[in-house]
């Protein structure tokens, strides 16, 4: 793959494994084994079986008729919201729990922002009967309260991260600290295409099922497996990478990644990483991150907990730098309006994260025969409180 990772864990200038020695044995074990394990026939069979029978894959590719009329192109929604647990996060969680089992791990830790990855991880741990600890920023526990209860009901222990901005970045720090202290029996299920190599590549592979299915489904719908545009929101970038993966080498397909502008890119309350960030190191990889001149990480802001992260995965940083994908941003207001519109025009209440991707339709210029796929990464149940407060329903 032209845009894939090299032997040292880099995508161009980005990636690597910037980790303290305490994490080295764990990360090295993963690096040595992940490809062998996930390419093993038995692993693949178990993974695919669970995706089919437990997650409910393939997720539909829905031709959104009213949207298509409104935006003057064929708009397709890749329905990751219909997955068990309500988002794309479950694809990666299933992959990693099967991998953890094969590595002989007895305990799982995870970080979560919106709670979707936490719920997905708690779910697969229940499924396998493995102990599960989820770190979640205190601020996020409040704004995504239903997911906290779901994780607890699924048997996971939810530990509040109380440092820094008390959001996803800080939850990730706490999970890394836990892993440092539990180097032998614990596997860390990272929820996005971030972290030290091999995580970005491993998570991208597990999420690549999204574009693998999309190609087949598009062929059925349109007679061509390649669309003109593929769009997705980017927090760390896992649904986007899954959505882009099998289109990366088809240069005719334009890739659009939508970041969270929060209250506006220049407002000082934003999570638009490629607009506001510079190259550096965050959570174990060289990437683009929001930081001060002194190299301190800047606290991001977005109404969407899943996009409220100051970095992006290293492969995204690479695709951005070489211009293979276009990185754009959408404000809180635009995303919430798009969430309402999607509810009332298509009968789908999207997660606020996914609503960011949809909102960017307003700014696109299509030709009438363009085929456009948007990753509808999750459902909006967890966000009802936020929607209700905003619109007053």
């Amino acid at each position: 793959m032209k845009y894939g990772v090299n032997g040292q864990g880099y995508y161009g200038d980005f990636g690597g494994a910037y980790i303290p020695e305490m994490l080295y044995p764990n990360v090295e074990e993963l690096r040595q084994q992940y490809l062998t394990i996930i390419n093993d026939d038995e692993f693949k069979a178990e993974f695919n079986q669970l995706l089919k029978d437990y997650v409910g894959r393939p997720s539909p590719l829905y031709h959104a008729k009213r949207y298509s009329e409104k935006y003057g192109a064929n708009i397709f929604l890749k329905r990751e919201d219909l997955n068990h647990t309500g988002s794309h996060k479950i694809n990666n969680a299933i992959g990693q729990i099967l991998l953890a089992k094969r590595l002989g791990k007895k305990r799982i830790i995870a970080e979560t922002g919106a709670g979707q990855h936490g719920v997905a991880t708690a779910t697969v741990c229940a499924l396998m009967g493995i102990e599960c600890v989820v770190y979640m920023g205190e601020v996020d526990m409040e704004r995504q309260a239903p997911n906290v209860s779901r994780m607890k009901m699924l048997g996971a222990k939810v530990v509040p991260a109380t440092s820094g901005s008390k959001t996803l970045k800080d939850a990730t720090n706490e999970a890394l600290r836990d892993w440092i202290g539990n180097p032998v029996d614990t596997h860390y299920i990272i929820g996005s295409v971030v972290g030290p190599y091999p995580y970005p590549d491993m998570v991208a592979r597990f999420q690549s099922i999204i574009s693998e299915e999309t190609k087949k489904q598009l062929l059925e719908h349109t007679g061509n497996e390649l669309p003109q545009y593929v769009m997705a929101c980017v927090g760390g970038g896992s649904n986007a990478m899954g959505m882009f993966y099998h289109f990366l080498d088809d240069e005719s397909v334009k890739l659009v990644a939508v970041e969270a502008a929060g209250k506006g890119v220049d407002s000082g309350h934003s999570a638009a990483t490629t607009f506001l960030g510079r190259e550096g190191v965050l959570h174990g990889s060289r990437t683009i991150l929001m930081q001060t001149d002194d190299g301190q990480v800047v606290e991001p802001y977005s109404i969407s907990a899943g996009l409220d992260y100051p970095g992006i995965g290293p492969q995204h940083a690479h695709l951005f730098k070489i211009n293979r994908a276009q990185y754009v941003s959408v404000t809180d207001d635009e995303a919430l309006q798009a969430g309402l519109l999607c509810s009332q025009m298509e009968g789908i209440i999207p997660a606020i994260e996914s609503a960011h991707a949809i909102a960017y339709l307003e700014k696109m210029k299509f030709k009438p025969n363009d085929n456009v796929v948007i990753c509808l990464s999750g459902r909006g149940d967890k966000d009802l409180d936020t929607y209700i407060k905003y619109f007053g329903y």
């Binding site: 040292q8 690597g16 494994a17 910037y18 980790i19 303290p20 020695e21 305490m22 080295y24 044995p25 440092s163 820094g164 970045k169 720090n173 890394l176 600290r177 440092i180 202290g181 180097p183 032998v184 510079r278 550096g280 190191v281 965050l282 959570h283 174990g284 991150l289 930081q291 001149d293 002194d294 190299g295 301190q296 990480v297």
Partner: protein, 257 residues
């Protein structure tokens, strides 16, 4: 040969090093603390440059870093403060921190500046060996700076040998895989680990860090290594009233000889 090498050549055991975060508890007492520690008999120092996301640190050093950043500590300011370092302090000094602030500052510029003010070495826990070797080692060497690597009970023998080869002052031995501020782990397995390291006859001396907080843990560590580093316990002291006056007593309690 820098001050660190000279120290290790002349003193082989019971070495005591202290870590503290620059800018905590007050922005401008970095050199006052260093001076007080030298007067109290400490052998070498680690001055932390704070980072917003210190993943290898426990609550005590996280807190000191947060406070130092709030007070306005930056690498620029730290180097300004250290301009008079060698007028006031003679013992070896290492800078300790995370990769991102150093990369933003520019690693070559960082190394040059560190050498100019009289720093002897650098500890950057999240700077990997591969990146150090391929991207940065030349800057360290050109400026006479030692780079210090960490070793844990899970580090393989092959990797320890490689670390020994890349090191030119000492190896930072962790008593367990843990963040800072824990307790020294002593168990049969750990004794085996120390013995294993000793039997490897490394060219660099080993200094034990993380979890050393009092005379008991210090003495224990010195049974297995050339010395030990105290971090969180000292940073806690800095958080108390009249900390400068308390330094001699604190050091005396840890190493009464």
């Amino acid at each position: 040969m820098n001050r660190l090498n000279q120290l290790f050549n002349t003193k082989k055991d019971n070495l005591l090093s202290i870590y503290y975060t620059a800018g905590y508890p007050e922005l401008n007492t970095t050199l006052d603390i260093a001076e007080a520690l030298e007067r109290a008999g400490v052998d070498f120092l680690e001055v932390g440059f704070p980072y917003s996301d210190p993943v290898a640190d426990g609550p005590t050093i996280q807190h000191s870093s947060e406070k130092a950043l709030e007070a306005g500590m930056t690498l620029n300011l730290l180097f300004e403060q250290l301009a008079d370092l060698r007028k006031r302090v003679t013992i070896p000094i290492l800078l300790m921190g995370y990769a991102n602030p150093m990369i933003q500052y520019g690693v070559e510029r960082f190394c040059k500046k560190a050498a100019v003010v009289g720093v002897d070495g650098v500890i950057v826990p999240d700077l990997p060996m591969y990146e150090y070797e391929t991207l940065y080692a030349d800057f360290f060497k050109a400026n006479g700076l030692s780079n210090i690597f960490l070793v844990t009970p899970q580090t393989s023998e092959e990797r320890i040998r490689k670390i020994d080869e890349l090191s030119n002052s000492f190896i930072y031995l962790l008593s367990s895989s843990s963040i800072t501020g824990g307790n020294l782990q002593v168990s049969v397995n750990i004794e085996d680990y120390y013995k294993r390291i000793k039997a490897m006859q490394l060219k660099n001396p080993a200094i034990i860090g993380f979890g050393i907080s009092d005379n008991k843990s210090f003495s224990k560590a010195c049974e297995y290594a050339s010395g030990a580093i105290v971090g969180s316990a000292f940073v806690k002291l800095l958080g108390t009233e009249g900390y400068l006056e308390k330094i001699p007593g604190f050091i005396e309690a840890i190493r009464p000889y």
